[in-house]
C-alpha cells in the first residue's frame, strides 16, 4: 500500500511517500516515518486523516494499533495522512518524577537551613512541634507520589510534551517553596494542639484512602497498558467518579487545618479547580462512553469529585 504523508499546510512531507505492506499497522507506518526522518520518533508524531478544506469537523486521529486498511476506505491502494510534529516528548514517569522531586527537596531546605537570614530575620528560630510534623507529613506525601509514579500508576498516554515539564515544575516548585516559607517561618503562629491533631489525623486517613484509590485504578488497566476506559468501582469509587482527586483534595485540607497558612489554602483552591476540570472531563467521557445503548453498560449516577456539592 502506498501512503502519502503531507504536512498540515498540504505540502508533501516525505518525498515520494512510503510503500508499506498491506497488513501494516499505523505503528509500522510511524516506524517507517521515523526511519526516513530520523528526528520524529513515533510518540512525537500525530497522524490524522485529511479533512475537507473549510469543514469544521475534527480530523480523525490514527490509532497506532489499528491497521492502515481500516483508514483507507476498503480496497483503495493509496492513503493520505496528515503529519503533525508534537515536539519533543518525555514519558509521564519522568514528568511526574521531576514535578514531585522539587517540593520533596525544597521543603526541608526551609526547615533545616537558616534561609530566613536572607529575608532579614536574625537570631535563633524556635521550632514548634507542628512545624516538625508538617515536615514529615509533607515529605511523606511527595515520597508517596514518587513511589506511586514508579510502582503503581499505569498511564494511558505514554508521553507528554517536554514543555509541560517546565510548566508543571514551575507550578509545583513555586507553590512548594511558597508554602514551605510560611510554615517554617520564624514568626509562625501555631494552631491549638487539638486542631493540629484533627488536621494531621484526617489528612493521613485521606492519604491512605488516596493510595488505595490508586491501587484500584491500577487494577482497572491490564499490565500491557491496554484496556482503555473502564467504569471505576469499589471503595469510594462507588460514590464518586474521581475518588482519587477527592482524597487528594481532602488530604491537603487536613494539612491546612493543621498548619493554617493562607499560602496553603491558596494552593488548595488552585489545585481543586485544576482537578475539578479534569474530573468533569473524565465524568463526561465515561458518561458518553457508557451510555447504556447497544449492550454497553450504563454509567451509574455518581458525584463527580466533591460530594455533596459536585
Amino acid at each position: 500500500m502506498k501512503v502519502n504523508i503531507v504536512s498540515r499546510s498540504g505540502r508533501e512531507f516525505i518525498k515520494g511517500g512510503l510503500e508499506l505492506n498491506d497488513s501494516a499497522t499505523v505503528a509500522d507506518l510511524q516506524e517507517a516515518i521515523h526511519k526516513r526522518t530520523k528526528k520524529f520518533y513515533p510518540s512525537r508524531q500525530r497522524l490524522t486523516l485529511p479533512v475537507q478544506p473549510g469543514s469544521k469537523e475534527r480530523p480523525v486521529v490514527l490509532h497506532y494499533k489499528k491497521s492502515l486498511k481500516e483508514y483507507s476506505d476498503g480496497n483503495q491502494n493509496t492513503l493520505t495522512v496528515v503529519f503533525k510534529d508534537l515536539g519533543p516528548q518525555v514519558s509521564y514517569r519522568t514528568l511526574f518524577f521531576f514535578e514531585y522531586l522539587g517540593p520533596l527537596l525544597l521543603y526541608p531546605v526551609f526547615y533545616y537551613f537558616p534561609v530566613y537570614q536572607f529575608f532579614g530575620y536574625k537570631g535563633e528560630r524556635v521550632i514548634h512541634p507542628v512545624q516538625t510534623y508538617a515536615l514529615y507529613y509533607w515529605c511523606f506525601h511527595y515520597f508517596k507520589r514518587i513511589m506511586e509514579t514508579f510502582f503503581v500508576h499505569r498511564f494511558s498516554h505514554a508521553t507528554s510534551p517536554l514543555s509541560n515539564v517546565f510548566r508543571n515544575c514551575a507550578y509545583y516548585w513555586t507553590f512548594g517553596s511558597y508554602i514551605a516559607y510560611y510554615v517554617n517561618h520564624p514568626l509562625y503562629t501555631p494552631v491549638s494542639d487539638l486542631q493540629m491533631k484533627i488536621g494531621f489525623g484526617f489528612g493521613i486517613v485521606c492519604q491512605l484512602a488516596n493510595f488505595y484509590c490508586h491501587i484500584i485504578l491500577k487494577n482497572l488497566r491490564s499490565a500491557d497498558g491496554s484496556g482503555g476506559y473502564q467504569i471505576p468501582h469499589g471503595f469510594l469509587f462507588n460514590i464518586v467518579t474521581c475518588a482519587n482527586y477527592t482524597t487528594e483534595i481532602y488530604q491537603w485540607l487536613g494539612f491546612n487545618i493543621a498548619t493554617q497558612t493562607v499560602a496553603g489554602y491558596v494552593f488548595l483552591v488552585v489545585a481543586t479547580s485544576i482537578m475539578t476540570n479534569w474530573a468533569l472531563a473524565k465524568h463526561r467521557r465515561l458518561r458518553k462512553l457508557f451510555d447504556g445503548k447497544d449492550g454497553r453498560p450504563k454509567y451509574p449516577r455518581r458525584w463527580v469529585i466533591l460530594p455533596p456539592f459536585l
Binding site: V183, H185, T189, T261, V262, A263
Partner: protein
C-alpha cells in the same frame, strides 16, 4: 469618557503643564478604568467574544496603574509618563469603543475605522506599556518607604504581603506578557484586515 480624558489632558497640557494632567483627569480616568471591569465580566458570562485571557491582563494592568500606583501614591502623579500613559490609553479606547459602537448600531464600520482599530496599537501599545512599566519602576522607592498595603507576620493566618515585592513581580509579568499581547494583536490585525479585503 475617554474623550473627556483626552480633551482634559490636551487642555491641561496647553494651558499649564504636564504636572497637572493627573489632577485634571482623575475623576473620569478612575471611573472609566473601573467600568472596564464590566468588560471582564462580560467576557466571563459570554456577552462579548473577546477571550478573558486577553482582556484580563490588559484591564488588570490598567486598574493596577490607576488605583494601585497613581491613586495610592500621589508622588507619582506629576510624572511626565502620566501624560503619555493617559494619551495612549484614551486614544486606544476612543477608537476601540467607537468601532464597537458603530458595529453594534449599523452592523459595520467604515474601512478606515477598521484600519485604525487594528493599526493604532502598533504605536500606542509600546508607548502605553512603556509608560506603565516606567511609572511602576519609578514608584518602587515610594512603595518601599511607605509600607502601604503591607501585611506583616506574625498573625493567626500566617500570611504576609509586601506591596514592594508584589510590584517587582508585576514588572516581571510584563516581560513575557507584553510580547504575547503584541503578537496576539498582530494576528488579530492580520485576520481582520485580510477579511475586510476579501469582502
Amino acid at each position: 469618557m475617554a474623550f473627556q480624558v483626552l480633551f482634559l489632558t490636551l487642555k491641561t497640557l496647553k494651558e499649564s503643564s504636564h504636572e497637572h494632567v493627573y489632577n485634571a483627569v482623575e475623576k473620569p480616568l478612575l471611573l472609566a478604568q473601573s467600568a472596564a471591569v464590566l468588560e471582564i465580566i462580560h467576557g466571563l458570562i459570554g456577552l462579548v467574544r473577546s477571550p478573558v485571557s486577553s482582556t484580563l491582563p490588559q484591564i488588570g494592568s490598567r486598574l493596577y496603574l490607576t488605583w494601585g500606583i497613581l491613586y495610592s501614591f500621589p508622588e507619582m502623579r506629576t510624572h511626565i509618563l502620566v501624560t503619555s500613559l493617559v494619551i495612549s490609553w484614551s486614544l486606544t479606547e476612543i477608537i476601540r469603543y467607537s468601532f464597537f459602537g458603530l458595529k453594534e448600531a449599523f452592523g459595520f464600520a467604515p474601512s478606515w475605522h477598521l484600519w485604525l482599530r487594528y493599526s493604532t496599537f502598533l504605536v500606542l501599545y509600546p508607548t502605553g506599556i512603556s509608560s506603565e512599566v516606567g511609572l511602576i519602576y519609578f514608584a518602587l522607592p515610594y512603595l518601599k518607604a511607605s509600607e502601604k498595603y503591607c501585611v506583616r507576620m506574625p498573625n493567626k493566618l500566617n500570611f504576609s504581603f509586601d506591596y514592594y515585592y508584589a510590584a517587582i513581580v508585576t514588572l516581571g509579568f510584563y516581560v513575557p506578557g507584553s510580547p504575547h499581547l503584541y503578537s496576539y494583536m498582530l494576528s488579530q490585525r492580520k485576520r481582520a484586515l485580510s477579511k475586510s479585503k476579501k469582502e
